[in-house]
Symmetry: C2
Subunit: 475 residues, 2 copies
């Protein structure tokens, strides 16, 4: 029975996409809805998002972020105010044309992102340098009319946070842009155990309307890249389009400088594809909604269930459940593995007689026989240890799948045979970027903050190189 | 300067509606957006909502509720599946007709409420009695195309939670419906300090598609009623329309029994209209995002600001801010009053010399001179005391504005001269309910759980009375 349960997942080596789909369904993270491309996030999936929210929100607030809520609709005329921005988003928005039975005088789009709304808002509430900075964020859902969708990775509607800030100076805006990018990367590494490459997007890949877009890029188990969070510096472009001005200390009118930054439910997809295995989901212990499941063995024997509940009480410092359902222990083990619960504690009559329990780690499957007197201390020790080792394994996997190329031949050879990141020098010309995309099928992921010099020349045209770029195939 | 700030609010006795509007603007709870009827909830307003969410969510989870997230769009064919429900909501929904530049094959409405989506979802995931009960909730925004809107009280888009449950038996569904209604009422009384009348709606006033709707009703300062939360029992009506069946222990197919229940950002409007005064907002201390503001007096004098920061550290068990801006103390006092911060602590050179501070309560304006050694203990004592007294004052106000009528003449006389609740007996006939609405301008608020017998006959037709009803003018 346990085997049947597990065997029904496709092996990731056979079909990574199907493996992913199997996990999101069988770990009960997602259900499909009646609308193509819109998913239902089930309690097991949403509890992961709640933990992400709680931790991110705490980190945001430590840097002075305040939450607010703006309308989900954008009047067409407002969306049209910033040219580059509307060109980027108009083709993929949902349009509301009727309210009740009456046609609207002006179409409203469902927000794909809220720069235009925040600009309108800021133009009302910013008058003086005393009103700056504004460092606001909202947690909400947004809609983008995507043709090809996959749960968490790309869906028509998704949950996210979007921070929008306004500053007196260009320097302060740039500082906030980088601060949030680093906050994102630290969060992903410390909380999701996913290592990130931090860098800047090329002009071709930057956000519609931004002066500069910074990104964090992760490598999935199959060697594909996933853009995991972005932070944009808008300069004063939006401020000029929307007339957001303040009087400075010398009583002169100035435009504000703005940023925005966002992370989404896509992070759940990253966790699945970085840590998951052929038995199911593997959740880092800090993120996991349930950190420990206690599974009683021979639970009908006297004292076993009582002991299980007693252990749960003892472990109240952690997020613990007892699986006291009628299923067999083997089935419960398989379920714990499928759901990615970081540790299971097995406790049966023999264990009780010996004053011990068996802890099984989800990530390594290591079994530890532990005295019941030391159970709490052992779990307290395993949480940071597993968290650290999961990050290290993910980093080792990424590093083992990060290649360098100094010629186009090398680049194409790697692209065709070795899934992963490719580091190569670039001259800064969009023509080379496009040629690499066409010939090698690789897009520029970012110009990393941690620069290296592999050679003096562009991998594509051979002219003088300006920067190192991470290239990859992306989700 | 302090006076100017305060004088700019309309007196509630002169114009209650304008007083309300002044507060939501000047306490910076809300900004108007470019779309009529959609509001921006500013950080001061959203922080109140975050505290409501946190406390309600905690209480939900204690009863076994799990959170999830369903799409914001409902295909027209899905909305149409339950007849009463669609008749109630279709006239007030926003319709999406285009995705990008292409017209949709089927219109989608932006959810006004999510019964139909949850039914579709439940029909996928419920097969056996082992899958029951499902007790799910989501936090989201919904849209209703209202013609007349007011911030928090009635807006086109508002934030809420909607719980949707499925049960094996009718008894269990009814139990959950009542459980959530009581949870709502307890929350409002304990956390918002607003007393509630708990009862059942008449058939005329119940939710579209429900067998029974239960409600909590509050009385605002102006004597108008505010429906503050509702809990619906659907019986198996939706289950039959959507085919949600499970096999019971005898292997027989059965329909599930369902409930739903919701509370919204409207609660913030209730807090304003129950506790506010002519100086601004008054927040109950458990709800207040900032519970104490420390206002330094003569802050440029040596040691004053340092002392203020030191006190903040000392008071770290509470939510405390120091107002160290350049404004005058009088202006800061007025701002604290406008924003409804429950307590201010004034600390100046003389106070420091005497090892004391002055606490001023927002609700009563009482001033207490307190030794710095006892400051923390005093605030810990004031929080539950203010919370209790605010509830008592609101209850006294409500009780003083709750009248009884046994004849139509009395009922009309009260309706014309005394704003408040009117208790009167009713025969159960919708014709009488409509006549009372027409002649006295009062709608039925609820048939309270706490029944009384004022007379044996209906206040309207004189036939045998079935039940006591609370009548009122409602927001």
């Amino acid at each position: 029975m346990a085997n049947n349960f597990v065997e029904s997942i496709t092996n990731m080596e056979d079909d990574f996409a199907q493996w992913y789909t199997d996990i999101v369904k069988k770990a009960e993270l997602v259900d499909y809805s009646g609308i193509k491309g819109c998913m239902v996030i089930r309690p097991a999936g949403y509890a992961i998002w709640e933990n992400i929210q709680k931790e991110l929100d705490r980190r945001f607030k430590e840097t002075g972020v305040e939450n607010c809520y703006l309308p989900m609709f954008i009047p067409e005329s407002l969306l049209n105010k910033e040219k580059d921005h509307v060109a980027g988003f108009a083709p993929e928005v949902a349009w509301v044309t009727h309210g009740g039975s009456e046609p609207l005088q002006e179409r409203l789009c469902v927000r794909p992102t809220s720069e235009t709304l925040f600009c309108d808002f800021y133009s009302h509430i910013i008058q003086s340098y005393r009103d700056l900075p504004k460092v606001y964020n909202q947690w909400c859902s947004v809609v983008r009319w995507e043709k090809t969708t996959r749960p968490f990775l790309r869906s028509m509607e998704f949950l996210w946070q979007e921070g929008h800030t306004a500053h007196a100076t260009a320097e302060e805006a740039e500082e906030r842009t980088i601060q949030m990018l680093n906050l994102y990367a630290d969060f992903c590494e410390e909380f999701l155990a996913i290592p990130m490459v931090r860098g800047r997007k090329t002009d071709k890949e930057k956000f519609a309307g931004a002066e500069a877009t910074y990104t964090i890029e992760a490598l999935m188990h199959d060697g594909k890249a996933l853009q995991s969070g972005t932070s944009h510096n808008f300069g004063d472009g939006f401020a000029k389009a929307f007339g957001i001005q303040y009087t400075d200390k010398e009583n002169k009118l100035q435009y504000v400088h703005q940023t925005s930054w966002g992370m989404t439910t896509r992070l759940i997809g990253a966790v699945i594809m970085v840590h998951g295995d052929n038995s199911g989901l593997v959740l880092p212990p800090l993120l996991a909604p349930t950190q420990v499941v206690i599974i009683p063995i021979q639970q009908k024997k006297e004292g076993v269930l009582e002991k299980a509940y007693e252990l749960k009480e003892k472990l109240s410092a952690f997020r613990v459940k007892v699986d006291d359902t009628e299923k067999s222990p083997g089935f419960k083990f398989a379920e714990q593995e499928m759901r990615g619960i970081p540790m299971r504690v097995e406790i049966g009559p023999k264990d009780i007689a010996n004053n011990q329990a068996v802890i099984v780690r989800r990530d390594t499957r290591e079994k530890l026989v532990v005295s019941l007197d030391e159970l709490e201390a052992k779990i307290a020790e395993l949480i940071p240890l597993m968290q650290k080792e999961m990050l290290e394994r993910a980093r080792a996997h990424r590093d083992a799948h990060t290649y360098t190329a100094t010629t186009m031949e090398e680049l194409k050879e790697i692209a065709n045979t070795k899934p992963g990141f490719v580091k190569a020098m670039w001259c800064g010309d969009v023509a080379c970027e496009e040629q690499i995309k066409e010939e090698a099928g690789l897009s520029s992921r970012c110009m990393p903050f941690a620069q290296e010099t592999l050679s003096e020349t562009c991998v594509c045209c051979g002219k003088k190189a300006k920067t190192l770029v991470y290239w990859g195939k992306a989700y």
